[in-house]
Assembly symmetry: C2
Homo-oligomer: 121 residues x 2
């Protein structure tokens, strides 16, 4: 399925399709952290956390910054902007269709009322 998709948006959606990775991003939303700090709340191994961080980094959702003694991670929100744009576009199209349908129903209803109750003034 999605395993082969390597376009930017697919990588972002794939990275977000895991509760641990989303929890890591939530943690980073409130400030940078080291891999050790990020691993703490989860009952998973450090290598597993590293792998999650690699997936997030490939999607451009985090930056790993080499510091003097440790590496910290920071969130990057640009890919979230793209996801948002995609979602908004599709919701908008769909809402537009509903509104058109709604308008057509209103028109029909009005015509029906005019037929039922003709008034010429």
């Amino acid at each position: 399925m999605a395993a082969g998709a390597t376009d930017e948006l697919s990588l972002v959606f794939h990275a977000l399709a895991d509760p641990t990775r989303r929890a890591i991003l939530s943690r980073l939303s409130s400030g940078e952290a080291t891999a050790g700090e990020l691993a703490e709340p989860f009952a998973i191994s450090r290598p597993a956390v590293s792998q999650h961080l690699s997936v997030l980094e490939s999607a451009g959702l985090i930056d790993r910054n080499a510091r003097a003694q440790w590496r910290t991670c920071t969130i990057r929100t640009e890919p979230l902007d793209e996801v948002s744009a995609w979602i908004d576009e599709h919701r908008a199209l769909w809402t537009e269709r509903f509104e058109l349908l709604d308008e057509r129903l209103r028109d029909l209803k009005q015509k029906q009322q005019e037929q039922d109750n003709p008034q010429n003034d």
Copy 2:
């Protein structure tokens, strides 16, 4: 990685992590279609399209409606609302952090200016 995640939001993100599935949703944004109509623009087999439709249906992103002779697919936007809410929340937190940082920098700058150029009136 994401293979084991079965929570609702992970299923939605996983479903969106494929360009063909996103193209199918784009097509459905402009109106319902049958599986055959959805398969047309893609150089993939009908079973592959069916599998994509199953992934989208599991994520709640489409409805498959049994009609007299054929089944049509319609888009559902409720899961997109959830994705949107998640994204907005994380962008907001991050923007807030930047604004706080910005405010602190402005304060520091102002104090620096007051020190460099003291005026008591």
